[in-house]
Amino acid sequence: MSVSDVGAEKRIFLRKASGLIRTAGLGDTFIYNLGVVSIGLGVGSMLYYGPAFYPQGDLIWGCVIAGVAMALISFGFITWTITLPRSGGIYVFGSRILPPALALTMSLVEITAWLFYCAIAAYWIVILALAPMFSALNLLTGNQTFLTISQTMLEPWATFLIGAAILLISQVVLSFGMRFYLTLNKWVFILAMASTVLLIVTLAMSTREQFITNLNALVGPSLGVPDAYNAIIASGKEKGWGEPGVDVWQTILVSNWPFLPLIGAAFSIAIGGEIKSVGKSQSVGMLGAVLVATVAWIITVYLAYQVFGFEFLGTAVFNVLSGNGGLTTPTDPAISLLTGILTLSPIITVLTSLGLALWMWMWIPAMHTFGVRAIVAWAFDRVAPAPIGRISETYHTPLVAITVTTIVNLIFLALFVFTPWFSKIVILIEAAVLAWSVVLAAGIFFPYLRPQLYEKSPLANKTVFGLPIMSVGCFLGFIAAQFYFWTLFFDPNAAGHDPTQVMIVVGVFVLGLVFYYVMKMIRRSQGIDVTLAFKEIPIE
């Protein structure tokens, strides 16, 4: 045996012994979270929906509000993951303090929402990145084949098939294991970041006049107006797009759009068991992702407003989404199409469009992984069928769980494409935020209700105004999550609360409870009490 003193400041004698090695460092955690935040997707969705739906909303302040709220939520989750540094997300946290049925329900609600996000991302890759890219190439080159491709992609069956292929690629990537996925993820991240930098540089070096001239030249003839830019704005206003201005409530509502992708900044709670120096890595990983994404969005939104113009962005999209027959661009005026028109460069158009697609792609395996890990954990706890937890001998991955979640993804995609339920199902995001707030609320009381677990936390001796730091962090996170639950609740564009939507939320929660009690009954018939899976063994 060898014993060593590792330094005067480290009063500990270690011997050489084997043990658990945590592999993800600070940089890995940061990239993981920033990848799930998806800066490009945020840019695309904010500039698309923001000016169109919220003419009096200040998107830049919206980014700040969302950033602060997500930082508070991250604070709460940081205290959770430092205290229980294990992989599995809120299921791990909830199962340590909530009743088993509630813990499983929160987990089911959460992963339903994240799998829904997978399908959204696959859908948006087609609608907001690829189809506009081909449309822009048609405008720039005059080649009708590009237009045909773009229009074909927007046919429901084609959208579904391309989206399904993207989701199946995620299945293949995850089947080969986390190492393969993370390696791929790093390259995708580098390319996507490069495209974002290219977009920002392009916008910074361009002018409004340049865009107007190009737009009028390319789009004007097909619209039959010489000044297409102002004609689109006038058409939008005539069709009901509100007058620009500044309104606090609309600014709060528009902040829903940066908040939705910012949710990804806390996703490293799913891999908490694999992160070394968990306190530092998770803190910098989560808060750093929030900060970098928020700053990048503020810069991009500011530049986009300068170049494209707030009124043009709002009216061009408004005329598309409201189906009012008003003037607009030949296909969806997504950021990729507008950048193509701005630069008149097919290469920049392709690069920025593919960059946007890569950002959206980063959501898919990340969210998919989250779902896979959660249902594997359920299987280990016997609240899901045992085959779900089975590890493939060939790939050493949970193939059954990956396949089950892929099927759910495909069902969600089909619902988007072939039914009008898209606007109804988006409410699941609200349900996930509610599930988060329940777990954060539980964290407020964790130091008091589970003192034996909390005393092992590195945070155990840290207090704020005499209160455990975990209670304070989770309280602030709970307030922020509740704020966004209600903000989403009152925003019909981002989520809403019509009776069908409320029924969907209630239905998912009820589904979770029913699922738990059915599995409990089945397991009881097999001689297994699943409630013991959630209980700490009492020392007698």
Binding site: I12, S18, R86, R179, K186, I391, L453, L532, K535
Partner: protein, 327 residues
């Protein structure tokens, strides 16, 4: 109870709770012993690596306070109750706290041999305490606590645990087990980057199994309690380390290696025992099949005070239930 009590007396049924790699964690060992009642197990099986890895000096300062190290930073401890609380918490995460004067601490810092001596004394003291605890809690029951050594365990623990009344400690043996089964005990591991106490080369494992296999009467009723997991499976995947024990990165990602035993994989494929119980690789928590043999590594997160284990039911020569769990 986790398993139905009404089947308790069914013919040949054996319910065992298996855990491994507790590495000195008092709370995990106490949970392990308590799991017999909590889960309704007939047998407790411990898969090696009972001993911990770090001594935490608690050095008394001239002003009467104590200085120690916790969660990566120095901490000052005031008064006996705080010291007692600190000692308890360190023991629960598998460390060996040692109260001493500052001068004693400084002396130890400069003397690796004295550190080694202290380390061994504290490790063996805790093993004795565990033996007493198991005896107290399991006395009067017919629940045996079977165990074997892991690669990190000092050889000196063998004598203590072999003499301990309620421990059924074996190494390099094939013994009868409840329900008409047999258990094959093979501790230690293949070589690790840390050069730990009990390491054997593949060639040595070939010899070791050649000694054990002939003692097995019926392979279909034999349980392999082998600390090292089979090579090239989900049970033995872990990060690759360099000579300085730092994680090796390839393309920015931690390289993964398999750290199990090829000889064991070959033996299991060839002989198809009923069940394989393994530990060693804390990251390798999984249940797999190698042919007909079910192999389990419950993994270990002992520093969190959470006991990972597996609840297994044997009946009529079959594994009827095998579930990973944590409590």
């Amino acid at each position: 109870m986790f398993w139905r009590k009404k089947d308790k007396n069914a013919d040949g049924e054996v319910k065992m709770f298996f855990a491994s790699d507790l590495h000195g964690s008092n709370v995990c060992f106490k949970k392990f012993v308590s799991s017999a009642k909590f889960y309704g197990a007939d047998v407790l099986v411990l898969g090696g690596d009972l001993t911990g890895k770090a001594v935490i000096p608690i050095a008394e300062q001239q002003n009467g306070t104590f200085l120690a190290f916790q969660h990566g930073e120095s901490v000052q401890i005031n008064g006996k109750s705080e010291v007692d609380d600190f000692v308890k918490r360190q023991g629960n995460i598998g460390f060996y706290p040692a109260v001493m004067s500052e001068s004693e601490y400084q002396g130890l810092r400069a003397d690796p041999d004295a550190q080694a001596e202290l380390f061994k004394r504290l490790v063996l003291e805790r093993v004795r305490e565990w033996a007493v605890f198991a005896e107290e809690k399991l006395k009067g029951t017919d629940i045996p606590l079977v165990a074997l050594p892991g690669n990190d365990d000092f050889h000196e623990i063998d004598e203590i645990l072999t003499r301990a009344p309620h421990f059924d400690f074996h190494e390099m043996q094939v013994c009868d087990f409840k329900g008409g089964y047999q258990m094959l005990y093979c501790g230690g591991s293949t070589p690790t980057p840390w050069d730990t106490e009990r390491e054997y080369t593949e060639e040595q494992y070939v010899s070791r199994f050649a000694e054990l296999i002939p003692q097995v009467k019926d392979m279909s009723r034999c349980i392999f309690n082998v600390h090292v997991p089979p090579l090239g499976t989900a049970l033995d995947a872990c990060p690759k380390l360099d000579k300085n024990l730092q994680v090796v990165y390839e393309m920015g990602l931690p390289a993964q290696v398999h750290a199990g035993c090829q000889t064991l994989t070959d033996i299991i494929k060839e002989h198809q025992p009923l069940l394989g119980l393994h530990g060693h690789i804390h990251e390798g928590r999984a249940k797999i099949n190698i042919g007909k043999t079910i192999c389990i590594n419950p993994g270990s997160v002992y520093p969190e005070g959470i006991l990972q284990g597996a609840m297994i039911t044997l009946q009529h020569g079959q594994v009827t239930q095998a579930n990973l769990m944590q409590g």
